[in-house]
């Protein structure tokens, strides 16, 4: 194995600090998070946003200052100023997070849950921090035992969901997982797994609530289950009026142990007999099913509030009977009378995630924070009762967890001027003309679902969804920086593409654009004309599900490439090529040995014969390939393959990893391949979990640029799911690449393309050694594992990081991470 494969390029200044090596050249590689920290659109429309989807929230007992947020794709975030500014918790490496809660008796002890992270030795599922979120561990017992789940893949690819801490005894912590309910009775130190329906194997428990002295109510794939004995035995409804199977949220009345509320799918249920029946329902005032939730909040006397969120946030008034007891009328007013909505019209973004209440009081606690597709919003009303009619405001510095559907850029002269555009899942479209600045100025021109973007030096194109009347996705032409302009005057036939990671719009010359619609691929020679004249190319042979358009030139001949199907790049599709701009041509398939199920791909802008792709159709799984002759022959990029799996740390293809929204249906690692249009030697690639990679020799050798393992300790950012790239060259030998991600915002990575940089490598990797052998790595040190000890023949000075041993079956397994700087190899 080439030692380069184990190397990581990193921000040298940070490395020097970490390793005590002050002699390294500065600025060899720099990584900067440059995405917007506020939405300029928010004051007029809160459905413009810069936060990205946030799911669960947590408060800290006794203070309203410290808050936690679990984002959909961008990891955990924390605020220590009552939600005004948010910082990423780099020590929590799994990025697709679901819930977070804080021990009410110890503010340093924090619990978080996440979806599968692609690792062979997964860190996802249940995570515990004992230092207020700085570092996180996954206790060994937090993984389910073998042969416990309804399929082994659930154990191998763990995910965890709702967290509940027993308010009467914080030692007891309960977590719903994709393999039943995990229970800890020692504040997260050790865990055991319980299956409420042991006859059929453990499966999804999506939410759990602890109340009234330790009663457990949960919901998930087995519907609702209740235990009053700590999880030893369970009861459920036996008749027809039961909870369906699926993703859910559950809450209990603060007064009556037998009154429960739940939302499953989009339907709101109430049980007044401890879950024996779920007869009462409330009409969902704004159904969509993104991730609906229910929560209760104690008010004066026998009153309490039922908070419900789906598209919008509502508050229902509930009343406990004078003589509490099972049955009776439903406890809350009909949803037609609920107060609200408290989202868009109250300063907050639609598509709600969670709500958090002031922990300093048990009654009439003010809502202090809520989450949604737009991130988090704090309540400007801080005193009861006014606070129960919240007026939300976006933070001064939001989480940066936006999910880019697309990114585009235009090169400008000078290091600061640079046009960059991106469209986001439910956070609208953003543009800037100073992307090279330390803090770019972003304009959030339009809200909601921003899909494709494309640009030239005089304009920017963006597609926006969803309009209720007529065409749901529309194309806008704006000035540079995404200002002004308006909707295009004439559309090509068919509907514009949306909700796809791969491009549907590209420019192929001055004023010339190609647009994919549901009817095919269309070109215009003048996007500024009125009307715009569109012509379809190759109508008779057009791929039925075209997406992912790429443009290349050979001399004066333009060639277009599209994929057919697999439009997120994570499912295979065939690749097609079209020569010229006349409408009468023919699409022809580009194959790999007569086959080829390509995931992500790119074509060299200046050489249509150079194509790089992930091939997802091979018998042994995904592999990275490249051709220099238009597909006649392909070369396997074995170094890149190795990096895509972190040299074995990550699965190339997951089976139950998070794909989009809450779909846990698996994904392959490759998320991006991109040729640098200005330098044929430079190629960038990325993985869902394993980081961002670059080659500066045309694809022969590859380097890991980011740190997917321990970004908190290395100081090198982890950039997951980079899906879009834009290159810039304003300094000699410096490559600057802007990266757009699915859920971790926008980044700028700069590195020098010099021979020297190849000689400076930060080695940082994870090795595993059992007591049955040894391995070589980490600066050629030979490592061995003895009972309870990891040893290096170069001594401890040759490495940094940590080592840990634990028993694995009958063997001791030594897992350690190490890093060092070497000048030459």
């Amino acid at each position: 194995m080439n030692i380069f494969m184990r190397s990581v390029w990193a921000t040298v200044s940070l490395l020097a600090l970490a390793l005590g090596s002050p002699t390294q050249a500065q600025h060899d590689i720099t990584i900067a998070e440059i995405g917007p920290t506020q939405s300029s659109l928010d004051p007029s429309d809160p459905d413009g946003a810069s936060g990205g989807r946030v799911n669960g929230l947590a408060t800290v007992a006794g203070t309203d200052r410290i808050l936690y947020a679990a984002s959909e794709w961008g990891g955990l975030w924390k605020s220590t100023d009552a939600g005004r500014t948010w910082s990423h918790l780099n020590g929590h490496v799994p990025t697709a997070t679901w819930d977070v809660e804080v021990d009410p008796g110890n503010e340093n002890r924090v619990y978080a849950t996440s979806f599968y992270d692609g690792r062979v030795d997964s860190r996802a599922g249940i995570s515990v921090s004992t230092n207020a979120g700085s570092t996180w561990t996954k206790p060994a017992s937090a993984s389910p035992p073998r042969n416990f789940c309804d399929s082994e893949v659930r154990r191998e690819e763990p995910s965890a969901f709702g967290i509940a801490i027993d308010p009467s005894n914080p030692n007891n912590v309960y977590v719903g997982t994709n393999c039943g309910l995990a229970i800890s009775t020692d504040r997260g130190g050790t865990w055991r797994y319980v299956d409420p329906t042991p006859a059929d194997g453990a499966d999804d428990v999506w939410d759990v609530v602890l109340h009234h002295g330790g009663i457990i109510d949960l919901c998930g794939q087995d519907g609702h289950r209740r235990s009053t004995d700590g999880g030893a035995t369970w009861t459920t409804a036996t008749g027809a009026n039961r909870l369906p199977s699926g993703r859910c949220s559950i809450a209990a009345s603060p007064d009556e142990a037998h009154v429960l509320f739940a939302v499953v799918g989009t339907t709101i249920y109430e049980s007044d007999d401890g879950g024996a029946t779920w007869l009462n329902r409330y009409t969902n005032p704004s159904p969509q099913g993104r991730i609906p939730f229910v929560a209760t909040n104690k008010r004066d006397g026998r009153a309490y509030d039922l908070w419900f969120g789906d598209v919008r946030l509502y508050r229902g008034t509930c009343q406990t009977p004078a003589t509490p007891g099972p049955g009776g009328a439903q406890r809350c007013q009909a949803s037609a009378s609920w107060a609200g909505p408290f989202t868009r019209s109250a300063g907050g973004h639609d598509d709600v995630g969670d709500i958090a209440f002031d922990s300093r009081t048990a009654t009439n606690a003010c809502p202090v924070l809520f989450s949604s597709d737009g991130g988090v919003y704090f309540n400007t009303q801080s005193a009861s009762p006014a606070c129960h009619t919240p007026a939300w405001e976006q933070p001064n510095r939001t989480p940066r967890a936006v999910w880019n559907w697309d990114m585009a850029g235009v090169r400008r002269t000078g290091t600061t001027p640079e046009d960059v555009y991106f469209g986001n899942q439910d956070n609208g479209s953003f543009g800037t003309t100073d992307a090279g600045a330390a803090v770019p100025t972003w304009n959030n021109q339009r809200c909601c679902d921003g899909f494709d973007v494309a640009a030239d030096s005089t304009r920017a194109l963006s597609t926006i969804c969803c309009f209720g009347g007529g065409r749901s996705t529309r194309l806008f032409v704006s000035n540079p920086g995404l200002t002004g302009g308006g909707e295009i005057n004439t559309y090509p036939a068919g509907n514009l593409r949306g909700f796809q990671q791969l491009d549907s719009i590209a420019t192929f010359g001055p004023n010339q654009y190609a647009v994919i619609s549901s009817s095919g691929v269309f070109l215009t020679d003048n996007i500024g004309a009125n009307p715009v004249v569109w012509r379809q190319i190759g109508a008779a042979t057009s791929p039925a599900s075209a997406c992912g358009i790429r443009v290349s030139r050979s001399g004066s001949t333009v060639m277009f490439f599209v994929k057919n199907g697999g439009c997120d790049g994570d499912v295979g599709g065939t690749l097609w090529r079209y020569t010229g701009t006349a409408s009468s041509g023919t699409w022809s398939q580009v194959t790999r040995g007569g086959a080829g199920q390509f995931g992500v791909y790119d074509v060299d802008t200046n050489n249509p014969n150079r194509i790089i792709a992930s091939d997802l159709g091979g018998p042994s799984g995904p592999e990275m390939v490249m051709t220099a002759n238009g597909g006649t022959t392909w070369t396997k990029l074995t170094q890149l393959d190795a990096l895509m799996t972190g040299n074995g740390d990550f699965r190339y293809q997951t089976r139950m990893g998070p794909r989009r929204f809450t779909s846990l249906t698996g994904y392959p690692q490759p998320t991006l391949v991109a040729f640098d249009p200005a330098d044929r030697d430079v190629i960038v690639a990325a993985a869902a979990d394993a980081g961002v990679f670059a080659s500066i020799d045309g694809g022969t050798n590859w380097k890991l640029l980011t740190d997917p393992n321990n970004p908190d300790r290395s100081g090198v950012a982890h950039i997951p799911r980079a899906r879009h790239a834009h290159f810039e060259h304003d300094e000699p030998e410096v490559v600057r690449v802007y990266l757009g991600t699915q859920g971790r915002g926008v980044w700028r990575v700069s590195f020098r393309k010099t021979p020297e940089v190849l000689k400076r490598h930060y080695i940082y990797t994870t090795l595993r050694v059992t007591n049955s052998g040894s391995t070589r790595g980490c600066g050629y040190a030979n490592w061995s594992c003895m009972t309870g000890l990891c040893r290096s023949d170069l001594g401890s000075s040759a490495w940094r990081g940590w080592a840990g041993c634990h028993k694995s079956g009958s063997s001791w397994l030594c897992v350690f991470e190490c890093g060092m700087v070497r000048e030459t190899f």
Binding site: T267, F467, T665
Partner: protein, 202 residues
């Protein structure tokens, strides 16, 4: 609005469908063992916020053709129905809805099993929007039965799944020699968000 059904069925189906159990039929004239049913779920490209399921299974008429060695055997009305439940033990507890899959069935809402208490359950507000069967006319028996499994596959599209729910599916066919019930498969209805512009109806 999001995906179309995946063209690479093996990939998508492996990811989205879970084999639940083999159906056991307590009937005197029980037919052959359970047949295979596959489901895939996707967001409609035509209707906002609409989740669909596509079910596919081997056309049961093929067995009749094979046994009779005659294409005329395909003319028999087999009384085929798709059954679905959102409860894990819903088939055992008769908490399911069913759709007849006659060729003329279009935009057909399900009927509910007698034990299903609430016909208004959102989960069952579904429509069978299309059934596609293998073409028989003009083909020889050899070509028909010697083709790929996809060539002799029946498929149906069910529209309007409640997002986030787990739907369990099976197909029941009244064959001349008894009832055949497919294996049961589970698919999670996808979320199909569409974030509407200000002023548009939610």
């Amino acid at each position: 609005m999001t995906d179309h059904p995946k063209t690479i069925a093996g990939v998508a189906l492996a990811a989205t469908c879970v084999l639940v159990a083999s159906a056991v039929i307590a009937q005197d004239n029980e037919g052959p063992g359970p047949f295979t049913l596959q489901c895939e779920v996707y967001c409609s490209s035509e209707k906002l916020r609409t989740a669909n399921a596509r079910l596919s299974w081997a056309d049961p008429r093929m067995r009749l053709i094979r046994e009779a060695n005659s294409l005329d055997a395909a003319d028999r009305d087999l009384g085929e129905e798709i059954e679905t439940t959102v409860f894990k033990d819903g088939f055992e507890e008769n908490l399911y809805a069913s759709f007849p899959t006659k060729l003329e069935a279009r935009e057909l809402a399900p009927r509910l099993a007698p034990e299903t208490a609430d016909a208004n359950l959102r989960a069952y507000q579904l429509l069978l929007t299309g059934v596609s069967r293998p073409a028989i006319e003009g083909r020889s028996i050899e070509a028909l039965l010697g083709g790929s499994p996809q060539d002799v596959e029946t498929s149906a599209v069910i529209e309007g799944l409640e997002p986030g729910l787990t739907y369990y599916w099976r197909v029941r066919v009244q064959m001349p020699d008894g009832v055949e019930i497919s294996q049961s498969v589970a698919c999670v209805a996808p979320v199909c968000p569409a974030d509407l512009q200000e002023g548009d109806a939610q």
